[in-house]
């Protein structure tokens, strides 16, 4: 992307007492991208988000949002951000609608019409005039999304937004976030534990562990598909005679029999070639399945599957 990043974290460090919770974290979020922020429990995702929205002070480093320093020009930086930090706590004694009016007053340019629009968007029309104390967790989450997008922020920051949503709600949110990014060019910075979810909605994912950035991976776009072309993956062939097939493929990369199927490691072109050889040898091929390494596997690989520390 040639445009300036919407958010830029530069060597952000947070120390509480003698503990370093975030350690020289640097990353950039581009306009119109859905950026995932992945890490095990206690790795510092929420802490990073708190610093991005000015709830916590940085020990050193700086964060710029739309070119404005969160340290030095907080109101300017904040005006471009909509966020949910951990749970979307609302005023329980107010109705959903009154809560939205409350937050609308704090951002310029949100009128009643826009409020009605976002209420419809998150599907709360039926319950918006109920007190929030009567809402379920999923309904509060929806209200949280409504207050976060109401003022059409350039950057939407969501801390585990699918928490408490039902499968339909998760799907809707995912589609909505992608649409926001594509149609309105809003950047979305989202942290989540649901790794498979991130795979479905993010363009890039950053992985952090104990406050350090470990890796940033592209999931969509050129870099990601090129990776798919050349990377050797585990492939399963479902054939009629596994032993005969094994004979045909003797000597090819890691070929073996697993669960009554023929397993081997091959890159994209090699899969087609292997199939041709099997068919030519008169072996019937019923199915070919590549075990794509899910983000979850990659994540566990990178973080070593460690537990909370």
């Amino acid at each position: 992307m040639s445009q300036a990043p919407v958010a830029r974290l530069q060597e952000v460090t947070k120390r509480i007492g003698s503990r370093t919770i975030i350690d020289r974290l640097s990353l950039e979020v581009n306009p119109g991208e859905v950026f995932g922020f992945l890490g095990p429990n206690g790795s510092g995702k929420t802490t990073t988000i708190r610093m991005m929205v000015g709830l916590m002070a940085m020990t050193s480093g700086d964060i710029e949002i739309g070119g404005h320093s969160v340290r030095k020009e907080y109101p300017l930086a904040a005006s471009q951000v909509g966020a949910i930090v951990e749970n979307p706590e609302m005023y329980k004694y107010l109705t959903g609608y009154q809560n939205l009016v409350h937050f609308a007053r704090m951002n310029p340019g949100v009128d009643r019409k826009r409020i009605d629009e976002v209420v419809e968007l998150v599907g709360l029309e039926g319950r918006i005039h109920d007190k929030v104390k009567k809402y379920s967790l999923g309904m509060r989450q929806r209200l949280g999304v409504a207050q976060a997008v109401m003022h059409r922020p350039k950057l939407l920051i969501l801390d585990e937004p699918t928490n408490g949503l039902d499968p339909a709600g998760i799907r809707e949110l995912r589609d909505y976030l992608r649409q926001l990014a594509q149609a309105e060019g809003t950047s979305v910075f989202v942290s989540s534990h649901l790794l498979s979810e991130m795979e479905l909605m993010c363009d890039r994912v950053a992985i952090i562990q104990t406050g350090k950035l470990i890796d940033i991976r592209s999931i969509r776009g050129a870099a990601a598909s090129e990776h798919q072309q050349t990377e050797a993956r585990e492939v399963l062939f479902e054939v009629d005679h596994t032993d005969a097939a094994l004979g045909v493929l003797q000597g090819q990369g890691g070929v073996r029999i697993a669960d009554g199927q023929l397993a081997l490691t091959a890159a994209r072109e090699e899969i087609a070639e292997t199939n041709r050889r099997l068919v030519q040898a008169g072996i019937r091929v019923y199915g070919i399945r590549t075990k794509t390494k899910s983000l979850e596997d990659q994540f566990l690989e990178v973080t070593g599957g460690e537990s909370v520390d």
Partner: protein, 268 residues
């Protein structure tokens, strides 16, 4: 940037859309009515002076107003932290100082509203039951600097002094609320300040150390000056001196609230 009044409106909404606020206002209306009607029934006498009873009721109701405002102010900051709503409140394009200021303004407005209700009700019920008179009765002592002024002026100044005391107690509560984020502690200590103040002033009169007149308690109750007395009879104190002392404490309390609220990490 949208205007500051929007923030005050938000704080007002959070005060007036709660049932407890209306119960408080209800109590302020009810107490003078019950007292006046009750007293006339018990003593079977309706020739009392309306201003005298109004003055007594005002003193009683004003301690309630102070307590109510303390409760709301303690909740105003600490409550946002305990409910977690502080996060959504502070991520807006506003400085933390503006947000704290809007809360403070809304609290003062609430105390002014209660004072007006108190004045209106105590005046109306006593004028109604005891009959209106412009005669102040024995309420303005001869030693008072307001001697010779109309009873309206005297009552006005009386309310002003009571309100200044309230502002001090509420600022104290507000400070504890933002420093400790505990509404219980803020409410407890502020009410202690309000009620123990008189007793402690009493104790202070027993010593003749000059420094006691700089203590907050000694300067809280300005109505002594209205009656032509000094809060500490054995000290050389003037209204001007007390006002300066209150201003100093006021600045300290609010400076602490502001500093703590602006600096602190929100990890709620």
């Amino acid at each position: 940037m949208t205007n500051f009044w929007n923030l005050v409106q938000n704080e007002n909404m959070k005060i007036y859309l709660r049932l407890r606020t209306w119960i408080m206002l209800g109590i302020i209306v009810l107490i003078p009515i019950l007292l006046t009607v009750g007293l006339t029934l018990v003593t079977d006498d309706s020739d009392g002076n309306m201003w005298e009873l109004m003055g007594t009721e005002t003193i009683i109701v004003f301690s309630l107003i102070t307590i109510f405002t303390v409760v709301i102010s303690a909740e105003s900051v600490a409550g946002e932290f305990s409910a977690g709503t502080i996060k959504l409140l502070l991520i807006r394009p506003w400085s933390r100082s503006s947000i704290l200021a809007s809360k403070y303004v809304a609290l003062l407005l609430f105390s002014i509203l209660q004072s007006i209700v108190c004045f209106a009700v105590t005046w109306a019920i006593n004028a109604l039951v005891l009959g209106y008179t412009s005669d102040p009765g024995g309420i303005i002592p001869e030693s008072s600097p307001m001697e010779g002024h109309s009873i309206w002026a005297y009552m006005g100044v009386h309310y002003l002094y009571e309100w200044l005391q309230l502002v001090m107690v509420v600022s104290f509560a507000f400070m504890l609320s933002s420093a400790f984020r505990s509404s219980g502690l803020a409410i407890g200590l502020s009410i202690f300040l309000l009620f123990a103040g008189g007793t402690i002033t009493g104790l202070l009169t027993l010593t003749d150390k000059a420094w006691v007149k700089y203590i907050l308690f000694a300067n809280l109750d300005l109505t002594s000056y209205l009656d032509g007395r000094s809060p500490l009879p054995n000290m050389d104190m003037t209204l001007g001196f007390s006002l300066i002392m209150l201003a100093v404490y006021f600045i300290i309390f609010n400076a602490v609230s502001w500093t703590v609220f602006r600096k602190r990490d929100v990890a709620a």
